[in-house]
């Protein structure tokens, strides 16, 4: 074992010797520095390992041979080992990253670098108050020196601001220390903590001065302009160190001194942290400069951690796990992002579009963004989960809201940024070079994130059951991403099919899950088949698609809330990447993500309440919520409804589905939306039916469903874009499902299931086929299509059958759904909503007619004369789905009977009886098989007769009389289907006025304007920043001690 004192000795010695290096040795100095940093890393790493194996007690190092308080002592426990290790690791990697910059500046810079890292080590290890002050000062001086690595005006200004502010702060700390010494008689931290200085009105001044200066070192909002400027102007390599290493050390100081004042002071710390977390992230939303944005984000994350330290009494023993999960994510992600920023060297976050040139860098960027937000499988996910659960247990709603709101605001700018990198159109992508020494540290940090995430997951309750198998498959697909499409497609399909066999025995006795597993997995295979029709390598598509399916199947498999949430987030991440792949999908992917994060946090809050109700981590806890049950159920419902795109939460869907790639649309429409339905079903089945809150909620949701249907159908009727028409139709169909489920009767649920299965079948067909046609014809606009019936007869039949299902026309399964639906409405007595639903059913015919007429009937356009049928790879899965429709239509009892048996225990009366193939209710009966036979026979007879009759008819060739000698400037206006329902629009258009879009726009503008207003305090004047620091001290004093 190498003693911790050697960390300091080696760094100081090396820094000293470097000054004596002659010319010949000068070239070796950077290697010497790296060796020194490597040694420091090794020492702290070895201690960390020992502590983790529990083979050692805490080590105290006495300097000068005396015991405290007569000498300075250092301590090396597991926490110190952890902090020094992460500091030294980022120091070493940062040294590698800055290799050339440091070499250029010479050995002096390296000395400063070594001293910087060393000072942070001492700050962590020391148990002496004055020694702490000295090394904080050494660290500040070294930082100010390192800022000069970027020798430009901005860095100079930032450094000066930093010096002035830290000068004032450390002076305050010094006064605090001298008072602490005066009152406690010792400089040893443990003695000072034991003196209980917070208890007396006189001695509390020492507590105040120490706390306020330690907190100011953490750059609390809004007294942090000096800190942000450092992040903005310094070399990103230095920014990484300040953000990852200095901030960690300062945080550890706060943690060390947390018990100095007592519970009341912890409260102040938590509040200061909370304000910083929300405020700093809020201002981040208006940032365009990558480094400054990272600065705000860093300060925000440190604010969150400060808050966690402040809440340590509430969090108890979980505090260490929570804090380290969030800290390590912040540490690795922020260092990685700063380093990436240095590589790309763009002034504006829009310039990060250049990342697209290097998929690996893009992968790293995505990793860091998701780690910061707290997505699985990163440590912050588990940290945040435990944080919310623990806070919920204690009933600390305000803190939960603060954390979730702050995290959401962070998502606003991080995902805008990620979207730019993935998708933004840029004429000239700035060039950047990738040097090995700059990219290597970034990779290490990404690996740290994944490794630590998987390592910590079993430490959470329920986390050990998380199934990482699908994720391994995703990683494998990443590894083979360079292969051509047909190989990856086959591997993916193979993987899903294998999983079907794997999961069937598990779910065999759980019909609810089996149905959804069927939709997800069979749907997955069928929609993937369409991918064979694409060429090239389709980089990044397969891992992301599989991530979505992994999440979907994980939702099905999960038995605990943690597993469910883990999979839910995984699905969100995967689907986000799929959606944003579309050509014009940048804004739509972004809004999808924001709604998804918002929804996920609503779910998390609900899960927290469920957990707090009975300390049950399984999903069954949802059935037993006794703390704020109405709020919990509403939040959960809202969370799931962000995925079902119910009215108010639907504005992301039309763009996301309409602009997605042709085979992605069916995935995210026919399949992904069902995750929300599954969530709602689970929730409704678990919900406590007896409580009045639950019934009111269902009543409201019923109205929401009915209105969603109306708005969805009417909007669909007014679309000119074929895919958007289908997207709005999805909104409406999901509205039907929500309505049917909210009825909460036996019949209602049967209708809900029928609609769910139907929507999966026909929407997959429609999006596949129409997507294929859109690609073939090169336009989304239906008025630019026409006459495709002869060119694409198979597509026509597929679309025809699908719209018969949507329309609910016998004999297909849509009719079964409608029949059950109206029975359920009559039985429930929801007549107003029923009328609305009935009316929207009629509106549906308008868009269905428009769809099939404008694409397939009417005049063939000149430029489409050579068009051929769409690819067989699209038609085959569509026709397999049609077979599904036929089976479901002719033998509905095969599926509906078992469903009925399954849901029977949940509902009091069994309103539906079966008599063979005949379904009976008190309002009548319906027999799918018979109807199929009757209508089928009639259809065949009529068709035969029609063919016989028209055999003698003369064929009329098409000729162009469309424009009749006019020269219209907007020729589409002469097309019959263009604005075909103008009259209806005039009469009823107000229903589809984009009120909700306007509402959300106002909300987002408001948030951004608030951010814009607040950031004006960062005037750039260093004197103002010094004043902020002084005012912060004064205000904190008045609040904490002034009796305010």
């Amino acid at each position: 074992m190498v003693g911790p004192i050697y960390i300091i000795a080696v760094a100081l010695g090396l820094a000293f010797v470097m000054g004596l290096f002659g010319k010949s040795l000068k070239n070796l100095s950077e290697w010497a520095m790296l060796a020194g940093l490597g040694f420091m890393t090794f020492v702290s790493g070895q201690w960390l390992l020992e502590f983790m194996n529990n083979t050692r007690a805490v080590e105290t190092i006495f300097t000068a041979g005396f015991k405290p308080p007569y000498s300075i002592n250092l301590q090396m426990g597991i926490q110190e080992a952890f902090f020094t290790f992460i500091i030294n690791v980022v120091g070493l990697l940062g040294g590698i990253y800055l290799f050339k910059d440091l070499k250029q500046t010479g050995p002096n810079a390296m000395m400063v670098f070594l001293v910087f890292v060393m000072s942070l080590n001492v700050v962590v290890m020391t148990r002496d108050m004055f020694n702490l002050f000295v090394f904080l000062e050494v660290g500040s001086i070294a930082t100010a020196g390192l800022i000069l690595l970027n020798n430009n005006g901005n860095a100079l200004q930032a450094g000066m601001k930093y010096l002035i502010a830290t000068g004032i702060i450390s002076s305050i700390l010094l006064v605090g220390i001298i008072y602490a010494y005066y009152f406690s008689g010792s400089l040893n931290i443990d003695d000072i903590l034991a003196a209980n200085l917070g208890a007396s009105k006189v001695t509390v001044i020492a507590v105040f001065l120490i706390y306020v200066s330690v907190l100011l070192e953490l750059k609390p909002f809004p007294a942090n302009g000096w800190g942000i400027d450092v992040y903005t102007a310094a070399n990103p390599g230095i920014g990484a160190l300040v953000s990852a290493a200095s901030a960690s050390a300062s945080l550890f100081v706060l943690y060390k001194l947390a018990s100095l004042g007592g519970a009341e002071w912890l409260n102040y710390i938590a509040i200061i942290g909370g304000i910083t977390f929300v405020g700093s992230n809020l201002i981040g939303t208006k940032q365009e400069s990558p480094n400054r944005l990272l600065g705000y984000s860093s300060i925000g994350q440190i604010g969150l951690l400060t808050m966690i330290v402040g809440l340590s009494n509430i969090l108890g023993e979980k505090m260490i796990f929570i804090a380290s999960g969030i800290l390590i994510s912040h540490y690795a992600a922020k260092a990685g992002l700063f380093w990436l920023s240095g590589i790309i060297n763009a002034k504006d976050i829009k310039g990060w579009a250049a990342l697209r040139k290097s998929p690996f860098l893009l992968f790293l960027f995505g990793t860091f963004v998701f780690a910061l937000i707290g997505f699985p499988p990163f440590p912050s996910f588990f940290g945040k989960w435990e944080l919310i659960m623990t806070l919920a247990t204690g009933g600390h709603w305000a803190w939960m809201v603060t954390i979730l709101v702050g995290s959401f605001i962070e998502g606003i700018y991080l995902f805008r940024w990620l979207g730019y990198a993935i998708k933004l159109d840029h004429d000239e992508l700035p060039d950047f070079k990738i040097e090995w020494n700059k990219i290597f540290p970034v990779w290490i940090m990404a690996i740290v994130l994944y490794a630590v995430g998987v390592y910590v997951s079993p430490l959470t309750e329920g986390g050990m059951f998380i199934n990482y198998l699908p994720l391994m498959f995703v990683l494998f697909l990443f590894a083979i991403d360079f292969l051509p499409i047909y190989i990856k497609n086959t591997v993916s399909i193979g993987g899903i099919i294998w999983y079907m066999f794997h999961i069937y025995p598990v779910l065999e006795n759980d019909l609810l899950r089996l149905i959804f597993a069927g939709i997800f997995l069979i749907g997955g295979v069928l929609t993937l088949m369409a991918g064979y029709n694409k060429k090239g390598t389709r980089k990044g598509f397969y891992p992301m698609a599989m991530m979505m399916y992994a999440g979907l199947i994980g939702i099905i498999e999960s038995s605990s809330m943690l597993e469910f949430f883990f999979s839910w987030e995984l699905m969100t991440a995967g689907s986000y990447f799929l959606i944003i792949r579309g050509k014009r999908s940048l804004p739509h992917g972004y809004s999808y993500m924001l709604f998804s994060i918002g929804g996920a946090y609503a779910i998390l809050f609900g899960f927290g309440l469920a957990f707090a109700s009975g300390f049950d981590t399984s999903l069954a806890a949802l059935g037993d919520i006794n703390i704020l049950p109405t709020l919990a159920y509403s939040l959960l419902a809202v969370g799931f409804m962000t995925k079902t795109a119910s009215l108010g939460l639907h504005i992301w869907l039309p763009g996301a589905h309409g602009e997605a790639e042709s085979d992605v649309s069916p995935m995210v429409s026919a399949i992904l939306l069902k995750a929300g339905v599954f969530g709602l079903m689970l929730l409704f089945l678990y919900m406590d039916r007896a409580s009045a809150g639950a019934n009111n909620l269902w009543y409201v949701l019923g109205w929401v469903g009915a209105l969603t249907t109306l708005v969805g159908n009417m909007s669909a009727a007014f679309q000119e874009d074929a895919k958007r028409l289908l997207a709005y139709s999805s909104i409406a169909q999901l509205g039907y499902i929500l309505f049917a489920l909210s009825i909460m009767t036996h019949l209602g649920w049967l209708a809900g299931f029928t609609y769910t299965i139907n929507h999966f079948l026909f929407k997959a067909i429609l999006f596949l086929v129409v997507g294929g046609i859109v690609v073939k014809l090169g336009t989304h606009n239906m008025y630019e299509m026409g006459g495709m019936i002869k060119k694409m007869p198979f597509s026509f039949i597929a679309v025809l059958i699908s719209i018969i299902v949507i329309g609910g026309i016998p004999p297909l399964s849509g009719f079964a759904g409608k029949w059950l639906f109206y029975n359920a409405i009559l039985e429930k007595g929801w007549y107003f909503q029923g009328a609305l639903i009935f009316f929207s059913g009629i509106v549906a015919f308008l868009y269905l007619y428009k769809l099939i007429h404008s694409i397939f009937l009417g005049q063939l356009k000149d430029n489409h004369r050579t068009v051929k049928e769409i690819s067989a790879w699209i038609l085959v899965p569509s026709y397999i789905l049609i077979i599904g429709i036929m089976i479901f239509s002719a033998f509905p009892h095969w599926i509906l009977k078992p469903i009925e048996t399954m849901i029977a225990p949940y509902f009091s009366s069994q309103a539906l009886m079966w008599d063979g193939t005949k379904a009976l209710t008190s309002y009548g009966y319906w027999d799918g098989t018979t109807i199929m036979i009757v209508v089928g026979t009639a259809f065949v007879l009529l068709l035969t007769w029609l063919i016989v009759l028209s055999a003698k008819a003369k064929k009329i060739e098409q000729f162009n009389i469309v424009f009749a000698a006019e020269r219209p400037f907007r020729p589409e206006t002469t097309h019959v289907s263009y604005n075909i329902y103008a009259g209806y629009k005039k009469a009823l258009g107000f229903v589809v006025a984009p009120g909700i879009t306007i509402f959300w726009n106002v909300v987002s503008t408001f948030v951004l304007e608030v951010a814009n207003w607040f950031r004006r305090i960062y005037s750039g004047n260093m004197q103002n920043y010094a004043l902020h620091v002084v005012l912060y001290i004064v205000v904190f004093y008045l609040i904490a001690l002034g009796g305010f």
Binding site: I141, G153, L174, V175, I178, R1016, S1019, M1022
Partner: protein, 117 residues
């Protein structure tokens, strides 16, 4: 006596702080800092002062009875360290001022507001 020292110390601190916050010339701001630091040092020494006792120099006082006769030596030791640190910080600040002056040929603090918001 000790009240004079400690009040002078605090007065100097406030004076220094006033200088930092009100002066527009960078050199004067740095001077404000040194005054601020000096104030703190005086406060520190005065806190360790015990009425009627000698300086903690063992040449003058017999080591065996030193504990009863001298003032608390720790604050004095701290002040020495604080002075050294103050020197370092001041030197670095002056270097910054020099470089800033070269950059814009101005010492006015208002000409260095390029980074904001």
């Amino acid at each position: 006596m000790e009240y004079i020292a400690i009040s002078t110390g605090f007065a100097l601190m406030l004076l220094g702080l006033w200088g930092i916050l009100s002066q527009k010339n960078l050199i004067k701001i740095v001077l404000g800092f040194t005054i601020f630091d000096t104030g703190i040092n005086i406060v520190m020494v005065s806190i360790g002062y015990v009425k009627g006792k000698a300086a903690p120099i063992l040449d003058v006082i017999n080591a065996s009875e030193a504990a009863n006769k001298i003032v608390d030596p720790v604050p004095q030791a701290l002040v020495l360290t604080a002075i050294v640190i103050g020197l370092g910080v001041t030197a670095l600040m002056l270097v910054y001022v020099l470089k800033l002056h070269r950059e814009k040929n101005s010492l006015d603090i208002n000409s260095f507001k390029d980074l904001k918001w």
